[in-house]
Symmetry: T
Subunit: 147 residues, 12 copies
């Protein structure tokens, strides 16, 4: 069976496409899932795509992703506040790719604190839904390197 | 049917009246609900009154309140730490009124960080249970202004 | 004779309605006085309503308000800089209600320092002229509680 | 019936023994539970031993522990970020003992913020699983002192 | 009638020429007024030149200057502390030119906070009395641009 | 004629003896004036003793004190905020003695900023009304040293 | 003729592959250029690939890139210090993609200041030479969006 | 001969039992020594128990403890200021256990700086004299682990 | 021969008139040079007017200006970062006038650091191209004062 | 027998009169002792006057002063660094008067931290040797108040 | 052939002997070169001695010095601002000796940031031109140690 | 008789050669004394070489060194904390050379505070025992300059 890439999405990403489209773009979370799935298919991976508003659920899923091949994560607002999520990411040995739809450097100062980035292999931000497309590519690339 | 005002209460507010009454007063959360309901009845609104200790549940409810007329929120300790809640509030277009039972300026320094206020229309603090009374009034007033 | 509620207004509030109406609304200070007077009449209080641009005059008046029943204060820019005003408020034993027309959390960082709030019973901000309406209510409510 | 000591464990502690053993040691959470149970038996207490990745659940349980004799808590990453947990702990009158497996002073700067310690009677850190052993002793000792 | 340029001077500027001449130069405030008047005459403006040690009076005058063509202001020590003055300046729509006799960057750290500059069109500092000469020129220039 | 010692008192000191006596003691400002006058008589100085709530008036008086022999000043809350007062003090060449009734180090953090001390010859704090007694002595002592 | 993508590289990137390979990987700058060229060919763009150790030269080239279709930039150490580079980037209207070989969040604190990111459309970091591959893709994607 | 555990106590601990008993408890330093000796006897260790007010003496003793089996240290006020003590502790290879009678997190901000903890194996605080009891246990436990 | 005023311009000023005209105005650098030349002619000075994007070249030119009569400098982005430029300015004994087209106080926080101002005689900012006009005047005025 | 006032002097005060006389004056420590003795004689107190360069000795003496009537202390450089001294002072119940020869507000920033003042009844600084004269007076005055 | 010691000098050092001699001494850069050459001759090294005002050139030369035996560097103002220079130094494996003519600790606060020191083997400052003499000695000594 | 160079060594330097040799090297303090003595002999100075763990003793010795020709000091951990030592050094008029075996810039942040350097003529760090060799040279050189 093909290995799985987990793509986990945090709080408020379920509203994608409805909420502040001038910042986040018009694609919905289903569109994003579709983009990821297409790219996973092309590269020979299964996709586990999920969203939650709950920090604890996100941590449960991160722990579950240990059985996968790579983790693509957009932790939304928890990116800036969750030490517990940071600790969960630190327990993984698979590649971790951080994605953000918008460019946090161009926003509020409190988005300058980031607990995901120091635990991630790499980060991609500011490219809207297309960022997920290249995040899946990068995940695949890093999996190969690890093997 | 009458429009609804959501009144959402965060962590530890279920203990109201039992916990540190010299700070929070002797009214219980049921008393507070009763005050809100009476005022809503008088002003022609339905009331959706809830409490949770879970940040994720609070975010789910804030998202749900998009279908309501206004949101009155006392986010308790999450006021000072939750960027995710801030982001959820930012997705709303209805009036948002922040309430606190006590006066945060007279307490610990870490209560100086506030992620609800910058997303709210206005704030009311320090008046105990009576603060909910005037918060409902203010919510009603702001709804009319928006119409 | 009925007890008095002092409503003291600080610098630049005399320009209300002319100055940055997108922040402060279109009501003039006379409109605000009218709102306060109506509410005081309804609740059985006299109203002492004043405005000054002078920090020292504001302190003189705060000291004078010791003979009143409650103090509603919008100290304008002195809110963020006046330790002397803070000390004057600390000498009062009557209820003190802080009002702001706009929401300071959504404005410049220097409005994050506040010398009125830690000396006040409670604060109301962001509701424009309507905030005075509920401030008078809260003042009346707190007077009763003290009695 | 014997009084209960609650021993509550926060995020990622379910991975104990698998995750970064050079920091956290090789004992699993079951081993830790066993150590606590043995010590509770010896000292005449029941043990309520639990783990969760969810901040809200941890707060629910802290509130529930009000019926117990003492609380031993290792809040993991929430130690450094949760004002809501701090507020929950503040509502307790039973002794609270904070435990950490590793020594936070020797780790990242963000572990310098601590919302559990100021609400706890005392803290024990750096002794791995053995720290729970002496935490139970300290809990028992403090219960006796309170009686 | 010719339009007026207001030139307002804050605390301690009445002592000009007597106080720390190695910092502020030997010209008196009357000399400065003379320089301004000559330049205003040449450029076809009336001059309203005043000095006060009182923050409130300075704010009164700033409000009054709304009827003028431009404002040249040296707020002295209030430059570094007065949010109320800042708010008064924000209510103007005429050009505002900030003047300082000395160079604040070469002095105490507390002169690094400036509440006049962010509300001013432009600033001139370090040129002693001659700075007023070019401030009047700049005021005249900006008036023409606005017309 | 004997030379004068100016003793200037800032905001809220008119309430001395009525306000927070556990911090400021029970002596009134008249008692303090009496203490100062007795000591001045003994040492051969006239006394100019005044109080104001107005920053601008305090600055006017400081400027006026240039004709005196020494300045004893308790600037109250303006101590912590007034750069303008600092600048006025800097213009003096006579000895300046700062007095505080209470010990600012044992109070709020914002009392850690002090604009009077760096311009003063020396400071006396924490001795209540008796502090004025020794401040007059110190003023007399410093006058003699200057002669 | 095909439009050009500028790929500009800052200080010390000429040493790529020789310097700290455990951080930056083993690919040389020529390898990176090759990766970029291949991807540009595939997507129908010309490539302008350059490296310099000089801040001023980098700024000259950024200005020159205004005639191109997009800018991919790895400013090396100037990322963290150059306001002048920031200003140059702000003058562009074409898409700007920031690339870093390593993950700056996992390195020294002074790499937390970033003057490129706030002026960029998006950022990619931590993927070594492969990051340039996806940066070119993202550049192409953003060009199409702009058209 | 049995190995020795050093128990070193810093400044003002000689006053234990007399000084602020609501913070430090009623046990004297002799009582504490007795507790430690009993526990050492039970576990088969000799005890070297000392107190000094002198930083230099404390450093001399820490250096001497290199010949012992473990070090239990309550450095009192030097905990928060002594880099020299920190360096001395860093030269040891035996286990180091930090003890505090009270909970520093609940006290002044300057007790937030700690030069002992980062050099210690673990820390115990807030349990009064009983903390030494479990510190000896922990010391014994860590000695065994090292062997 | 007439003495020379050096007018040195730093990075990105070559784009003047094309770049963000709402901040910097519509005049080009050639227009600015023309303004300066006219004013120099009128006042009897030669003009040395230059622009560079290179910090090192700017420093070379500042050193060269030691042979001139005065220096007018707009260091652009290097104003906020260049200690080396600061040191070069410190070596001059001729008058130095700092110019900025826009008002830095109304822009990003990182423009609050300024390494030119503390080494300059005076500063002029916020008047667009006209600021150079009065800077040349001020330079001439200061030359005369020095003579 | 008359009660004793302890007058304890910290590091480098033995060099008084030889070291930086423009800051500390020309009186030697023997002169200061003489001043204190004369004033103690006049007021009916014995004097215990000592100096040491050793922090530990200073703490020993502070502990010893518990048997005295009052403590006058000039802790020299330890004022700014010694938490251990602060703790020793906190154990006293007799009046504590802090003295400094010079005015610390007019000196280096690191003299802004003060561990003596928050534990003292009052402070006197800037009056040179005469400061000890009034410190003894204040000590006597406070003793009487306590009786 | 003898191995080379590179001695690289940054901005404004070409003015040595002319600029602020009370800080930097009277020796010119040629004198310094002579001192270095004599010492290199004595110790059997060639000397490559250069100066530039350009950060980029300094980086080019640092890269070139990889072929040498050791690097002695006085980066002048770039010491305090250049991350790019820091990165270049990090690529070297030869000994690096930092020299400064004056003592930066006794100067402006912004000289407290240092990007050369953390990449250097050792530092020498405050000895004027003689510092280069001992820097060459130290370079020679470290070369021998590495061999 | 030949003049003396004092070489004073602070806490933990007695352990040199035994403690963390990868940081401090393998030379013992006796080896260092030997190096210093040889160099002093060669240059015609006596050597006073001492070590202590006591801050007060170090200060006593610094005061004693006033009778010497120069002071070479490695204050160990007291470098970073001792204002009292700083004050003692300030009383000297002989040259003061600071030495450190390792490079403090490459170590913990708290070693960034330095109370010796601002009082020293110059500093040498990072060259291990050889640093003392060149420190003696520099001391001799500075003595000659002073003569």
């Amino acid at each position: 069976m093909n290995p799985s890439i987990y793509c986990l999405n945090g709080p408020n990403l379920n509203l994608l496409g409805q909420r502040e489209p001038e910042i986040y773009g018009r694609a919905t979370l289903d569109d994003v899932a579709e983009i990821c799935r297409a790219e996973c298919d092309r590269l020979g991976f299964l996709l586990e795509f999920r969203q939650t508003n709950h920090e604890g659920v996100l941590i449960d899923w991160v722990q579950e992703s240990r059985g996968g091949a790579a983790l693509v994560i957009n932790a939304g607002g928890y990116t800036h506040t969750s030490v517990a999520l940071h600790d969960a990411l630190r327990t993984l040995t698979i590649p971790i790719i951080e994605v953000h739809l918008s460019n946090p450097s161009a926003r509020e100062a409190f988005r300058g604190t980031n607990f995901v980035a120091p635990a991630a292999s790499g980060s991609i931000s500011g490219f809207g839904a297309f960022g997920y497309h290249i995040a899946i590519q990068a995940a695949a690339q890093l999996c190969r390197r690890v093997e």
